[in-house]
Subunit: 279 residues, 2 copies
Amino acid sequence: MARPVAYLGPPGTFTEQAARKDNPQADLESFPSIQGVALAVASGIADEGVAPIENSLEGSVNDTLDILIRQPALFIRRELVLPIAHCLLAASGAGAGDLEIIYSHPQALGQCRDFLERCFPKVQLVASLSTAAAVEDMMESGPKAAAIAPGQAARLHGVEILATGIQDNNSNMTRFVVLSGSDSPPTGDDKTSLCFSFGEDRPGLLHEVLGEFARRDINLAKVESRPSKQFLGDYVFLMDVHGHREEPAVKEALRSLKGRSSMFRVFGSYPRWRGSTHP
Amino acid sequence: MARPVAYLGPPGTFTEQAARKDNPQADLESFPSIQGVALAVASGIADEGVAPIENSLEGSVNDTLDILIRQPALFIRRELVLPIAHCLLAASGAGAGDLEIIYSHPQALGQCRDFLERCFPKVQLVASLSTAAAVEDMMESGPKAAAIAPGQAARLHGVEILATGIQDNNSNMTRFVVLSGSDSPPTGDDKTSLCFSFGEDRPGLLHEVLGEFARRDINLAKVESRPSKQFLGDYVFLMDVHGHREEPAVKEALRSLKGRSSMFRVFGSYPRWRGSTHP
């Protein structure tokens, strides 16, 4: 029997949408945290796991980055991008003027900051574990509560949609990664994600590293830093570059980078998202 | 009459500790959000405002970065670093086994993730606006609630400390910035913070920019990226470099960077934190 695909649940999250879009035939199993999804894949409970990694308004999902940095058994096998449209949900009959508390995932609350500050400046905002969990929190909390969640969560739970498209910006997109025990073979249009850190601190180190890619005409899709968690001001750099780790130019640049860094890990090479589904 | 110093309140937050350490004589006024602190300074209600910008475990405080990117009237005048020791607080008589809900600021919940997952895997975690607000939320919520907050919040509210030093890592430090209408004059040991973005996407652009600093032996203290909020994959880069913007080498590098970027803003030059208080 095929093992299931783990995703950040409960049912009704944008991550569930992403998992279904990535593989409509898969048997999906929800986990309550990104750490849970990662452990399900690393331990073999699930074959693949789907987690958000970056949003166009709020930026990186730090939990996912920190897991990739620290979990050597996990690789990125695919990526996919979904448009995110948030709705304000409430129990049937509840009016916007009655609301005292609004639940959602912190990223969703952040993505709707302008709407919330303008329309509900006095309402208490409470973080839930996911947008779908926010709907459950709202239902337990009574008629003065609302939740920010995907529209399909309203259908799933039989609650009302008070407002749609409440995100601050219509270019709200989230990038998801499919985590697995291995990455993907070359397709000719790939990305490679990696992280590294330096054991020393001198001018120009990062410049030299970027030079390894620039001189080989390898485009950087993203550069990011995360705390090393050792001491303040000590960072792990994360990078997405165009190309597959088996392509000679990328391979050489990675080899040279590995030689310069005190910590180095390739999260994997995978097809660049072009709007298509499961390759 | 001197105008007050705004800080991310309410009283009892680590930011209040930082504001007092920065200027023990100041008249402090608390604001409920980082956006509120920024607006108080930009509008002239407060002369200076104190906000967290980076934690050694959780990374950057995105609200503060996004405000600096978008608010041209605000500059960084000073920085200071405080060690962060979190405590678990509860009403007198409450036992750890009775807890059903724990409140704190999302950064503090993140900093105590291991402790919470091991000791309270089934307890509901709820985000509050600040660690001090978490204590108020806890007190309103009843005897099954606890809060993660600084130890002095326990004294302020007359509640009990159930556990101390519960952060995942003893190197937990937070860097704060003092925001104002202008930055600081050169002291000989300064930092300069800035942001920029490119109007185009070609291999090597970021490498060229870092080269402007590397070739002048200017050390990079930090490189970070935030979403431009225009579209996914479009970033604003934030950088801290050693030196003052009036030093010739830094001045030249900044001029050259400005010429290469489509958006460019210097957040200010200010004395590098060396463990001292108000200079």
